[in-house]
């Protein structure tokens, strides 16, 4: 059992998402940074779809009512277990009664906003429509269908293996797969159906200017501020399916990028779609920071997805290797 001690809002239970329910109007949800959650689960020997806690606002404090192994992935922030510093991306063991505190700041090696608290066995809330992710709009899934509150107690699942690699660490993906344009974090984008319906100048500026992520941004979508993006003529589309990453331009001319809790359909014109391989980067981009869009081809977008798969394969390989070394060294934990 993990007890939430801080009164911080907006933390949610997330796994990799809920699929097969779009036709009921139920969005995918799931971790904004799927790489961080997946890597955390691999490090702990969990099923890769185990649920963790996504934490966007700090300080965040929890008490472990049972001993368990854990790892913090995602953003690098200052963390301590009782008084002992905790390094991100490195598995540790917490004893029953210990308190984990995560605070903003520290010598961050990259600009990021969300920390994932992953525990061996995963956060064992009930499955709802096949997933443990919180469905905020539908008020189900996760812990009681809502963001976590002070006093909430979350069940921890049974850890899959007796032998787990405590003390295993990896280098975060932002450092092994950096992507910047003119010193600004970059996000790769494929053109979408209405791209050609925007004015030539709008299209040029879409790629050339940087876009600020405004404070009206959350798990549903990021509202951007930048140059005006204007269509050549008024567009009123029929509602159609959309996915996380779709960049819509409402009549106001400022784009909105659909994120994990995005509604599964919409009708504003689409100028582009952030490629699946880069959604984790965007999921980590802090409010107030800026991003640049980089155009890619279909082939480049598919290759980028392979790079992500390769990175996760490397994490799996490292963890398997670490286990072997520990076994040979005679560790018995």
């Amino acid at each position: 059992m993990i007890e939430i001690l801080s009164s911080t809002a907006l933390a949610t239970v997330q796994d990799l998402g809920r699929f097969g329910a779009l036709g009921w109007g139920v969005s995918h949800s799931g971790a904004m940074d799927r790489l961080a959650l997946t890597a955390g689960n691999i490090l702990l020997g969990n099923d890769e779809n185990c649920a963790g806690i996504e934490i966007p606002i700090f300080p965040f404090r929890v008490r472990f009512h049972q001993a368990c192994d854990l790892v913090l992935t995602g953003a690098d922030h200052l963390a301590r277990l009782d008084d002992v510093p905790v390094w991100p991306w490195l598995t540790i063991h917490a004893g029953a009664g210990q308190i984990l505190t995560i605070e903003r700041g520290g010598p961050s090696r990259w600009q990021a906003s969300r920390v994932y608290l992953c525990v061996a066995g995963g956060i064992d809330v009930p499955l709802a429509l096949g997933s443990r992710s919180t469905q905020l709009r539908g008020q189900f899934g996760g812990h009681q269908g809502r963001t976590l509150q002070q006093g909430d107690r979350l069940p921890v699942g049974v850890a899959a293996q007796a032998l787990r690699p405590v003390g295993m660490g990896i280098v975060p993906p932002a450092l092994t797969m950096p992507l910047e344009v003119d010193a600004t974090p970059a996000i790769r984008v494929l053109r979408a159906a209405e791209y050609a319906a925007f004015t030539d100048q709008s299209c040029v500026e879409f790629w050339a200017k940087s876009w600020k992520i405004t404070s009206q941004s959350d798990r549903y979508g990021y509202r951007l501020a930048g140059p005006m993006i204007e269509p050549k003529y008024p567009l009123e589309l029929r509602s159609h399916g959309i996915v996380p990453g779709v960049i819509q331009v409402p009549h106001g001319g400022q784009p909105i990028i659909q994120m994990r809790d995005a509604q599964p359909s919409g009708g504003y014109p689409k100028i582009g779609t952030v490629i699946d391989a880069d959604l984790w980067r965007l999921g980590q981009a802090p409010i107030g920071s800026s991003v640049r869009f980089v155009e890619v081809t279909w082939a480049e977008a598919v290759r980028a997805l392979q790079d992500v798969t390769d990175w996760l394969d490397e994490v799996r390989r490292m963890v398997a290797l670490g286990l072997t070394v520990r076994q040979e060294a005679g560790h018995d934990q």
Binding site: G23, R238, V246, T273, A301, V302
Partner: protein, 218 residues
Amino acid sequence: MAHDPVVSMLGTTALLLEAHGETSLGTQQKIWSLSGQVMDWPEVLEAVPGMNNLMLCFRQPPLDPQPLVTRLLEAWHTARPMTMEGRTIELPVIYGGEAGPHMADVMAHTGLGAEEIAEIHSAPLYPVYALGSHPGYCYLGGMDHRIATPRRKTPVLKIPGGAVSIGGFQTGVSASDGPSGWNTIGTTSMVFFDVSKQPPTLLQPGDSIRFRIQQVVR
């Protein structure tokens, strides 16, 4: 041969097939039919009907999407309209006033009065074309074009569940509180989604909604 639908990519996650021509129930029946067919294709994770369009989510993005697009268009041309006889639910609506905060915008755009808008809006039997937007939300066909009003310049951050709204040539009822770019003209109350039920939604494509004027607030 009719016009080919337009097929576009939604990143590497999905593709979108959009039928040509005026929005119609006949076209939607072909969309339902195509959706049922492609759901069994191994590369398809989910098939999601929209308003005269269909989104396919990939299990894995194909290295070259063209063969899949070709196969999809062939399936479209041979698809037979699927008729679905559903049930009808009636929803009493309070139009205008606090229940319909954007009624004035619809009046300004259409040049019609609140009573006329309510009359026109409540006249048709609306078939449920598709579900989407949020859990339990129904996209309805058959709205009278005289009350069509563009989506708002910027989406409203929160409109309440039960809000009856117009977006372009479409209308619908919000199933829960949330953001929307549509114009709210009235309010009703009904539970459209219950996660503990199977299926969790009150209505399915092929069912119908009839709006009844409970009151028009001026």
